[in-house]
Symmetry: C2
Subunit: 147 residues, 2 copies
Amino acid sequence: MGTTQVEYDAALQQARTGFDEGGIPIGAALWRDGQLLGVGRNRRMQQGSAILHGEIDCLNTVGRLTDYRGTTLYTTLSPCSMCAGAIALFQIPEVIVGEATTFPGEIEFLRERGVRVEVIDDPVATDLLARFAANNPEAWSEDIGGR
Amino acid sequence: MGTTQVEYDAALQQARTGFDEGGIPIGAALWRDGQLLGVGRNRRMQQGSAILHGEIDCLNTVGRLTDYRGTTLYTTLSPCSMCAGAIALFQIPEVIVGEATTFPGEIEFLRERGVRVEVIDDPVATDLLARFAANNPEAWSEDIGGR
């Protein structure tokens, strides 16, 4: 991970905060040129929101940008189709993914749309989510559109 | 349109409300079995939000659902990749689109994911958005990830 450790940790810290709140522990952070533009975390449990996944919450916090060139989105879990669609829409060029084991996500879709994706296999992100899902299997399934 | 007129009008009314607020006039409504589950509209201008497209705002208003079976999402404009991704994630089975002229959206993606999509070519939806975009071309471009 090298120089991306600080950047990724901003996303992981959001996942930890979400876990401590009883939420689904997935976090995200948007950076550009060493500057943190915003962070977010999944808020399904905290706010009863279906759409505030970590990445969406992060982009909402960042607010309006006319251009996402040069940004990197860090997320602790591989993006679902909604979050991947947002990344493609705004042409965010790079996504660093904590893990894609718990949920494979839409990495191929992102690459087809020209996004550079790297999966760093962070066991901390996997463990946080495994602990949540073990205690809240229905909420976790609901969050990723399971039936 | 037949029996869908009332359902679609709930989305169109949201677009009109958005226009009157100075917002990007795109609205959405989620229905099931003749019951309105929630409505939403684009809030980029009103709330400085990048992610509150009409469909996303609508799904946020609806809140947590364990199952979207039997729902139909009405939207005045063809869904972008973020909104289409949300529809795919939650397996919303049917989307009625007001128009796909101003913005083609991700209709093929939705069909590939098994969503039934119908475009009704509503000139009122097109006109509202044309009037907004003529006066706010940069905000409109920003909303759909243009550069």
